[in-house]
């Protein structure tokens, strides 16, 4: 595998929660030209993982490997080339766009920094990037404050693409965009992948988008992976019990239908110490018994590419979920 990113960051950055790091024992890899989607509820640790890969926070334990090279380094200690190759688009673009600079500077800076291009040529680059995210070239004279929410999100995408990365970490980059613009950006990402073998780590709450873009999907629950597999495999039984709940909660796009009433409550973790061995045990509709609280569930392989972490074996789950 020419490029892989096996990693197990154990980030203990949660000061008030010494007992429970935000992300625990997570390992996965992404191949060139591949899209891995990371899904999981709010607060499950998705942004923490991408920030660790980008070197914005240091894992307590674990290793990051990129192109066969150990990159478990903070961003300041990474080489310029490495910083160019791994680009992160933050969940909240506003925080990353300098409010005092016009867009030509914001997008032009990485072009200048990484490719030493300036003047006319740089401006042409900025204009092209703006067009690829469906913004008019005239926008380069604007300040971030003169943009709508979705326009800002697209500027953040354009700036990350300016570095021509090999691995793009996308944290909820489509959530502020309507269907038409979303479809355009999705096509852009696909084209970049096909043309330049770009890899994506793609975080999204929108399962329809995940389904259409990802090759593989990793499901995160309270900082631990519970299912990993090819996109078709994850979207069909057997499901991990959490994945099953997650998919069932998809909003019904029709009026008049009632909101789901039996929505399991959010990431409730009552007792500080009483973290059960399976983090999903307190909410799991298929809980086997006290074994789930006491014994960490094993990974069971459903296929060569599909694994589920649960005390119920994959075959059993498939039978339970067949109805």
């Amino acid at each position: 595998m020419p490029r892989g990113y096996p990693e197990r960051p154990q980030t203990g950055e949660s000061d008030q929660l010494p007992a429970k790091p935000a992300v625990r024992g997570v390992s996965f890899s992404i191949s060139p030209g591949e899209t891995l989607a990371l899904v999981g509820e709010s607060g499950s640790g998705k942004s923490t993982i991408v920030r660790a890969i980008a070197g914005l926070l240091a894992p307590t334990r674990g290793r990051l490997v990129f192109d066969g090279q150990d990159i478990t380094l903070p961003v300041e200690r990474r080489t310029k080339e490495l910083r160019r190759q791994i680009q992160l688009i933050l969940q909240n673009p506003d925080a990353s766009l300098n409010p005092r600079h016009r867009l030509w500077r914001i997008i032009g800076r990485p072009i200048e920094f990484f490719f030493r291009t300036s003047g006319r040529e740089q401006q042409r680059g900025v204009a092209e990037l703006l067009e690829t995210v469906q913004l008019d070239a005239g926008y380069m004279w604007r300040m971030p404050s003169d943009l709508s929410g979705g326009e800002r999100q697209r500027v953040a995408i354009a700036r990350a693409l300016a570095a021509r990365p090999k691995l793009l970490l996308c944290d909820e980059i489509l959530s502020a965009l309507d269907v038409s613009v979303q479809a355009g950006i999705l096509n852009l990402l696909r084209a970049l992948q096909a043309g330049h073998g770009l890899s994506f780590l793609f975080i999204s709450h929108d399962l329809a988008v995940v389904r259409s873009l990802a090759h593989r999907v990793a499901v995160l629950y309270q900082g631990e992976l519970c299912e990993v597999g090819g996109v078709r495999e994850v979207f069909s039984p057997p499901f991990h019990p959490y994945t099953e709940v997650l998919f069932r909660a998809q909003p019904v796009p029709a009026p008049g239908e009632d909101l789901p009433t039996d929505v399991p409550s959010g990431s409730e973790l009552e007792g500080e110490e009483a973290v059960p061995a399976c983090p999903f045990a307190p909410r799991c509709p298929r809980k086997v018994g006290s074994i789930c609280d006491r014994v960490p569930p094993p990974w069971s392989t459903v296929s060569a590419t599909h694994a589920i972490r649960c005390h119920i074996p994959g075959g059993e789950l498939a039978k339970l979920q067949a109805i």
Binding site: L17, S42, L246, A254, G266
Partner: protein, 338 residues
């Protein structure tokens, strides 16, 4: 004698311009609507069409480098666009709650989030004692599905995940039981489970306090779940207003039809062919119907005659002169031009 109830908010021909390098550019163009007590009005539309600009106007606020260039926004009879800043300050936060599109901007980065909520409660005299304020704050955090409210309350904004920040801002906006709640994409950063939880919480609060809501979202599916009525905006103009059921049963405007069709396609969405072709280009708006360059049903006349909302049914308005000619249920994806 009992007439219809007075609206909580009445927006009348609102016009907002932005300063774009050398000249004023119009963004919101003669928008009118009202919201009754206990009612939720939704607003859908493409990125950049003017939804947030309208939402800000409901607080009597316009962003830097922009101006109100006409119209009125009457909140319980008082025009917010002409109210002194001090009066406005009193209304905002207490009587009108606001959840901006980017939750981080609503939070003070240097103060634990619990303090911020309590401070807002005290500033508006909503709670007699610190204790009461704390209880209400923690109660709201729990309602939002935030894990261990006490821990969350002690954290600074940067120590929370994106969705957690969003829920803190929602809690802050709800804390004073506002008469009107303005929500700009309040659940975009949330997973479906958490989102469903928030939506049902909002429905409960609306029923309990008769709160009126203005709900902005680019996602019609979400609006369908929470709104009584929905407005659809295109390039700064309202192009359709209808009750939620009517809008889905009987969409009139070709743009609305495209939106609904792409929504229904989402389950099997492959993301290659948007049902709505093209994009909103403000620099190339025709004199007539602003949607004409993208419309499957356009005729030469559309490019020259401006369209405005006209009543087509009970509480249903459409800004398209050709709506009677467009057969119901036509898929906007196929070239149905006559």
């Amino acid at each position: 004698m009992r007439g219809p109830p007075a609206p909580v908010i009445d927006v009348d021909s609102l016009i907002v311009d932005f300063w774009d390098r050398r000249r004023w550019t119009n963004v919101v163009h003669g928008v009118s609507f009202h919201i009754f007590p206990g009612e939720t009005l939704g607003m859908a539309g493409e990125s950049g069409c003017g939804k947030s600009t309208t939402a800000y106007a409901l607080l009597g606020y316009h962003r830097p480098m922009s101006r109100f260039n006409g119209g009125a926004v009457r909140f319980l009879g008082r025009d917010l666009l002409r109210l002194p800043a001090r009066e406005l300050q009193k209304i905002r936060g207490a009587e009108i709650g606001f959840v901006p599109q980017n939750p981080a901007t609503a939070l003070n980065p240097s103060m634990p989030v619990g303090h911020q909520v309590m401070e807002s409660l005290e500033a508006h005299g909503a709670c007699a004692t610190r204790r009461e304020a704390e209880d209400r704050c923690l109660g709201l955090f729990a309602d939002m599905g935030l894990p261990r409210p006490k821990v969350v309350a002690g954290r600074y904004p940067h120590q929370l995940s994106g969705g957690q920040q969003q829920r803190v801002v929602l809690a802050m906006a709800l804390a004073c039981h506002p008469t009107l709640l303005v929500l700009d994409e309040p659940t975009t950063g949330l997973d479906v489970t958490t989102q469903a939880r928030i939506l049902s919480l909002l429905a409960r609060l609306r029923a309990r306090y008769g709160m009126a809501m203005f709900y902005v979202s680019h996602n019609l599916g979400v609006l369908a779940q929470v709104c009584n009525r929905i407005t659809v905006m295109y390039a700064g103009e309202l192009i359709e207003v209808a009750s939620t059921a009517e809008l889905f049963r009987n969409p009139g405007h070709p743009y609305t039809r495209g939106l609904i069709a792409s929504l229904q396609q989402v389950s099997g969405f492959v993301g290659t062919q948007p049902l709505l072709r093209g994009l909103l280009r403000r620099d190339a708006l025709p004199l007539g119907c602003r949607f004409a360059p993208r419309c499957e049903y356009s005729q030469p006349g559309c490019f020259t005659s401006p369209q405005s909302l006209a009543t087509v049914g009970d509480g249903h308005e459409v800004a398209c002169w050709r709506w009677p000619d467009i057969p119901a249920g036509t898929d906007p994806a196929d070239k149905g031009t006559v």
